[in-house]
Amino acid sequence: MIVSVRDLRFRYPKSGVDVLHGLEFDIPEGEIFGFLGPNGSGKSTTQKVLTRILPGYRGAVQVFGQALASQRADYYNRIGVSFEFPNLYEKLTAEENLEFYRGFFDGPTEDPKALLRSLDLPVGDRRRVAAFSKGMKMRLVLARSLVNRPKLWFLDEPTTGQDPQHAVTIRELIRAQADAGVTVFLTTHDMAVADRLCDRVALIHEGRLLVVDTPRVLKLKFNERTVRVEHRVSNGSLQREDFRLDDADSKRAFLETVRTTDVETIHTLEPSLEDVFLRLTGTGLA
């Protein structure tokens, strides 16, 4: 396992209550592990503990087979961290930001120009980062997190502020890194991103882990096996009907509807990850 977490608890200084309550999960090498929950659920705190930004946690956390508490500065040579907000030197250019940053690492590093190209950022642009849009800044933060060729990549809301085209670029990059053996810890409340990318997801709510499994298993677990059919009736109006496939009468009615009416659409109504979360907690993810 690249990451192994047992009974992780955390309390901010000067706070009387824990914000993480006994989290337990494992992440094998090369997996894209989604950490899903609404704002304030403890996602970012967990990432900050795992990246050693927040010390003082309780529980047993191992990364790369070694206790996190005993990891030293060399740990950062092996991980990459992309934050949920743009935290760049705004008076420097994009390339300068990457060049300075890669100077802090010991091992082989990526060519900044190649990283910029891979995220559709301008190469040779003399503009300072302050002049960039939020989407460009976030992509630069993402590029910076790859500069040291990490084995474990922490991503916090990586598609924030991106247009659909760049969101696809980012998803493809994440998938390519995982295919190359990089383990990805993806923190997000964007269900679409999690559903498309993650090998497994953990749902967290109020600092407690609700469930850990693949998106498909989670969706099937809460699936009511229902089909929705839209068809035209004799007066020309559109009618919508739901058929439960677990019920024999309903299944017969579905087949009869398909056979005898002018069907326009048929959809299975398996739940989304958001529906799963809603059913587990009674609250949404936004």
């Binding site: 010390p55 760049l88 420097l92 300068e96």
Partner: protein, 237 residues
């Protein structure tokens, strides 16, 4: 470690250059030279110049390091450094030692502009740099303790007053042994000798002055580090 420290120092200097810190320093330096050459009578230069020399990297140094810290806090760029092998000690060293380069050179320009080019140019740089380092440390500490700029400005007043107390000794108004523990005291002694051209005494007294300055620096650094730790000040652990 050395390579990372160099990169971090280069980063500090580059960011300050883009923020026009050096340009501001040199404009002030040129203005000071003009004032000294046109308004200050020659007989007052040995008293006025040392006071100005420790004031430029001193009070301005506090402001510049603090300005960089507030800028980094606004950009949140320092958080990104916290997830690299760069340690907090390397970051603080780069910030303080890197920030001291420009004020030292700018103040040396004032020295040369007023007294001309001779051996004194070489001799004035070490104490200037040390004063700039101490000021940077004070700026770092105050900007960490006070997260709002207005409170920071108020916070700078006590150290600047303490920092200026050795002027009382220097001008012969109120000599007091405890002033020796204020880094500006030794610097003033050295600057005074240089301004008066006392080269004979300088070799001996200058060495003692530098030793005394180092001792005071260590003392102040210990206090600053203690305060920073007590306040959990340096957010990047």
């Amino acid at each position: 470690m050395t390579a990372r420290l160099l990169v971090a120092t280069r980063l500090v200097v580059t960011v300050q250059w883009r923020a026009k810190f050096p340009q501001i320093y040199f404009v002030i330096a040129i203005f000071a030279v003009i004032v000294f050459r046109t308004l200050i009578p020659a007989e007052l230069v040995p008293l006025a110049l040392p006071a100005f020399l420790f004031g430029e990297p001193g009070s301005l140094g506090i402001m510049m390091v603090a300005a960089q810290r507030y800028m980094e806090r606004g950009e949140r760029s320092v958080v990104a450094l916290a997830v690299t092998p760069l340690t907090s000690g390397e970051y603080v060293s780069a910030l303080i030692f890197g920030s001291a380069i420009v004020p030292t050179l700018a103040t040396a320009v004032i020295h040369v502009g007023v007294l001309g080019v001779d051996l004194r140019v070489v001799l004035v740089i070490p104490p200037l740099y040390l004063i700039a380092v101490v000021s940077g440390g004070i700026g770092l500490m105050l900007s960490t303790v006070f997260t709002e700029f207005t409170r920071f400005i108020l916070g700078t007043i006590p150290p600047i007053i303490v920092y200026s107390l050795p002027l009382l000794s220097f001008f012969g108004l109120a000599p007091f042994w405890a002033f020796k523990w204020i880094p500006s005291d030794s610097a003033l002694v050295i600057f005074g000798m240089l301004a008066r051209g006392q080269f004979d005494a300088l070799a001996y007294a200058g060495s003692l002055g530098l030793l005394s300055l180092f001792a005071a620096l260590t003392w102040w650094a210990a206090i600053a580090t203690y305060m920073a730790r007590v306040r959990h000040a340096i957010e990047f652990a």
